[in-house]
Symmetry: D2
């Protein structure tokens, strides 16, 4: 069982639920920090065994419950399909485990609200895996905006584009509402964009106006399982798709800023590109996830700037997140290490009083925003984000 | 008076109305083509005289009417403030002159509709200055999309950002509704974005959902005249601003494609950046006005491509517009030359039967779309573009 | 005959020798300035006639001599093949014409030295067409370096790469030593790179170490004439090539700075890319001809900068050269207009006492550097640039 | 002691010598693979203790010898200052340990030659840490060139620029010849550039022509130790510097290709940028270490290409090295993981018969090339790379 007294990170045990590619990223990040990974759990035990072997991990757990019963596990990482997040997180908290859960946190805001309450009552560390916040440049920008570096934030725009579902032969569990939820592109990647811009600007989204569209209404599902971003061959079945391939969304932030976000999983040539620009009353900032070590800062009256991820130039938040000297580029995997460093510091009882990582409350807020997106699209009108006091 | 028989371009006379920087761009483009510029007209005769001298032009006309009375003028270029477009274009047509008018074509769609009818009845050449279409890469893309190069067009997204009105001390006639119209950013630069993407995709915009905002409600107007993109000093007066600084707009195109456009004149560091991406069912294309000689083409299943403005690689439309060998970059001024080459070919009676330049009808359609934007923003709902059959 | 008293630019007549694409660029630039182009001259009169028609120019001159005899011609633009530069420039000076000559100025430094002396003795305006200096960003950088913006210049590196001679079926008169000279890539494009970096840094090249190579020793020459950057079909003849396809060159500048330049006409995918970086003791600057409106400025201890071609941010030299507001990109053709504005101001008797355009002396210096390159490559040793006092 | 029979990676123990930032990168890469890190060794035991604690590692070894005596250590990673590489590698081999050594392998080619012989005689796995080869795009390019993707390689050009030694107050042990060797910039980063381009093209460098320069002849050494890329304050001593800040180098590859490389540690704004372009007879390729997930491929006759690090598009070598799906960018740290995966597969007795990682022989060859660079610069002439059969 987890405790809150300070203890070495090497004595805090972790387990990872889920055998997809992202589970492997969790495992490696934990290892870099020196956290012992006690084992993995898969929906298919056979796949978990295989993954444990390929990652040189201890034998896979027989079941989720077996993992919960292992007293050497202090923290549970949940990377299973979306519909399992809620029951698994709930069970893990009940078992006294700290929890790090992939986004979206749950299938509904009712569930996520309940998880927030349970986590709060438990006193356990709870985190949602909005890893993009932990690109050092994004952390830097978070502090920079808070300190007035851009002036008043006025306009937030950008996109998150992928192409891995461009073809009607592309298949993944995320396409199925019962596994991934009724929103797809928005919940999977739009949630990242909205969380990241809210985090960086310090402004919550209060209202949305969305247009969703399913351009590929019939897809061909392969007979066997398919890993995210992987391709398959073999016999297929026609399946009707109801979740959106694309979304165009107008946003309003709590301080009156306007926002605009384009989301797509069918943009040929865009493997995985998140881009945002924040225009303030004095300066602007733009960032692209494919060149994460660089921040564009726009000015009137003087040249624009390119800030490299140079620890000597970053502010406190940026510097705390940077893992390498400038010019030694950091990537996707490095954000996991940085995020878990913060989370495990909290688990070790050694973190700042105000948590510096995204928590279930953030995951819940993301659910509320996503539900407003769905509501807006259904009705064709602006929809407020309903936050109960 | 203008005639439709083929005649040498050196015998077709032009006059330019307006003494701003864009008027000078018109003059130079005409000269490159060998078109004799008979003179310029200004709202202030003194400024016209000055401009004529600085451009080594013949003496400025005393008045707009004096210019119309000059039989050596066949084509009138209208670059005056927006509120003058309609009366001047109407008068020019009545005087038997061919007309090239800056955008927006008029202040209202009633006016622009009337101009379309008048122009049609007159048989005179009429063009609206959507010069961006005439970047060779955009022309190439126009043909490429028509020929199915991207498959079915699904998603069109991007922005047009400027920063010349970032500060409350920035002033220009476009800020005043009575001179520039009730829409500002959308009419001035959003119209370019919407015309360009409609042109390139071959799809009209049928419905819009817009959010407009004036972030700087009070500006300080200088006592004297101010040229676009120029700065001034001296005494100022507080003026209430009602036209929008920013717009976020969702679009629907006639084939069912979604669109998203962000427009701003207060984005620090963005001097003048238009960007669009068109995602089709097989490939995608992206273009940025600040690197106009390059087209990004996105693919699944093979590397993305960068198409340079290389005449040997361009299709017929692109090649016809290119003025220089590959690698010898073309710029803003070159689009005017290319556009007027098409227009003057028509004036000379030597153009293709189907005009290859934007006409008053396109300017009118742009007015209808802009009015839908205004209506949508006022009501907070989707607004159809109302086109009367 | 030309005079040195101030007179309007519209009364200064020009003629253009040469009917290639670059001749057309000269013509258009002159027209933009309001300079009357009296006519063109071609090695083939038929081509000159055709070019005159396509450009809507007055009838072509029957011959070079006929042009020289036209008293309405004050300035002669020489864009013929390299071997004609010397005799034509000499004859033009003798006829009392001002001369603007394409680079390389001549075939040998003996010739170029003589032209310098003749021009000086004549008191006529003489210019060599190093147009790249007239990108506004390059002019800005010239002043910026002179004023110490980079500190002491230490390292100058970069390349000029093209691909138009990649294939053994590519043919152009520049391949033939008797028409283009014994150096090819270095003289044609390396000369631009060396002139530009010398100009911008204010440092002459004093010593070079070069490696030249002809990777395509046999090329197939078409029967008919071939325009630069154009392609042809038809019967061909095998020709042995002795001029270099590529050059790698080490440089030493007079202040002790090191330099490195890579030159190639066979770099697939590089249509026409000049790039340089200047590293100084306090800051650095980099520029690429394919994005000419932007200057990268590198710093230690603070973010790097991107300076746009924004007249409000440019220094005096940059601002004087800029023709459009920021964000309205200028291109290759605009440099010709800017260069000739300076030259014709001098012709009009209205220029600064210290000429601000490249003169025959610069063209001669370029010849001396190129000859050192050839000598170095032949001997495999460092070669000083021999400048006689 | 190490054995060659296949065994699980979790049973192969490693130790890391050196407590600089790069040692930490080694440690994390090993952990990601599941290799147990038995401990670290530092020149200062105190620093090693501190580093062990910050990395949550077992207690640091008391000494290098103590580490060698630990039978649980199979592989020794040497990341100490350059002058220690030779004695430590020699001792490790003598103790029957497999060795992974940072570059440059030794201080002289005599030493490196001896290490090659000793390693070969021992049958132990020996690797030199040319990690840049293990960017997946570079591995892909290696196979692509070998299979003729560019045609015959003709021209290899580029640079490796840093700015961490720009100021005369910048200090590091690499500045001292007795610790870092007589060559500095060339040995430290030029060696990477030359190894990488040789590896990718499959062509050894046979001759070099170099110009070296020390622009900062006096530097101020702080009293205490300084970590690479870190900054310090406090009392300093003037020290005369003899090692080069910059190098410009011409190269000739064994197949007749030309090369050009610019090396600098004083280029303001360039934190750590390696760039190369390889021009072949049919196509070209360019890569920049700051955007490592993208390969530019240049073509004549068709658009250029941008190949993303997309496993589905990479060839066998690239795919084997890629650790994440496309669009999830990999960085500097990921190359270490990929490199050690190959090395430890060999240690486990499970690798391909032909080693796919850089070995001592490559490190020795790099020493020979560097010595030719030094010789050439000293004499001011071309210097052959002397390889004894």
């Amino acid at each position: 069982m987890a405790s809150r007294t300070t203890r070495p990170i090497t004595e805090i045990g972790a387990a990872v639920v889920g055998t997809g590619f992202i589970g492997e990223v969790h495992v490696e990040a934990l290892r870099r920090l020196g956290v012992p990974v006690r084992g993995v759990v898969g929906s298919s035990h056979a796949r978990a065994v295989e993954r444990a072997a390929s990652l040189a991990l201890p034998p896979a757990y027989e079941s989720f419950e077996a993992m919960l019963n292992d007293p050497r596990v202090d923290v549970v990482h949940i990377t299973s399909p979306n519909h399992l997040h809620y029951p698994q997180a709930k069970a893990a908290l009940a078992a006294g485990k700290h929890v790090i859960c992939e986004k979206p946190l749950t299938m509904t805001s009712t569930e996520s609200g309940e998880l927030v309450r349970l986590a709060q009552a438990s006193g356990l560390v709870n985190a949602v895996n909005f890893n993009l916040r932990f690109y050092p440049i994004c952390r830097h920008l978070h502090q920079f905006v808070r300190e007035g570096g851009l002036g008043e934030v006025r306009l937030v725009s950008g996109h998150y584009l992928q192409d891995w579902l461009l073809l009607d032969t592309d298949w993944n569990w995320r396409l199925e509402p019962e596994l991934g939820g009724n929103l797809r592109a928005v919940a999977d990647i739009g949630s990242h964009w909205m969380d990241l811009t809210s985090h960086v600007t310090g402004q919550r989204i209060v209202s949305v106006m969305a247009d969703l569209k399913t351009f590929i209404p019939i897809r061909w599902q392969p007979a066997g399982p398919v890993e995210t971003f992987a391709r398959t061959a073999g016999p297929t079945t026609a399946r009707t798709i109801t979740t959106e391939d694309c979304a165009t969304v107008l946003l309003r932030y709590e301080n009156g800023a306007l926002g605009s976000m384009t989301i797509s999983q069918i943009s040929a040539g865009r493997r995985n590109t998140l881009e945002f620009e924040i225009d303030g009353s004095s300066s602007a900032a733009a960032w692209n996830s494919e060149q994460p070590d660089e921040l564009w800062i726009g000015h009137r009256g003087r040249p624009n700037e390119l800030l490299p991820r140079d620890p000597s130039l970053l502010n406190e938040e940026g510097r705390a997140t940077a893992g390498l000297p400038a010019g030694h580029n950091e990537g996707f995997a490095d954000t996991f290490k940085a995020l878990y460093r913060s989370v495990y510091r909290a688990v070790a009882g050694d973190g700042p009083s105000e948590p510096d990582y995204p928590r279930f409350a953030d995951g819940h807020d993301s659910m509320l925003v996503c539900e407003a997106v769905a509501r807006s699209a259904r009705r064709g009108t602006w929809a407020p984000v309903v936050r109960v006091a």
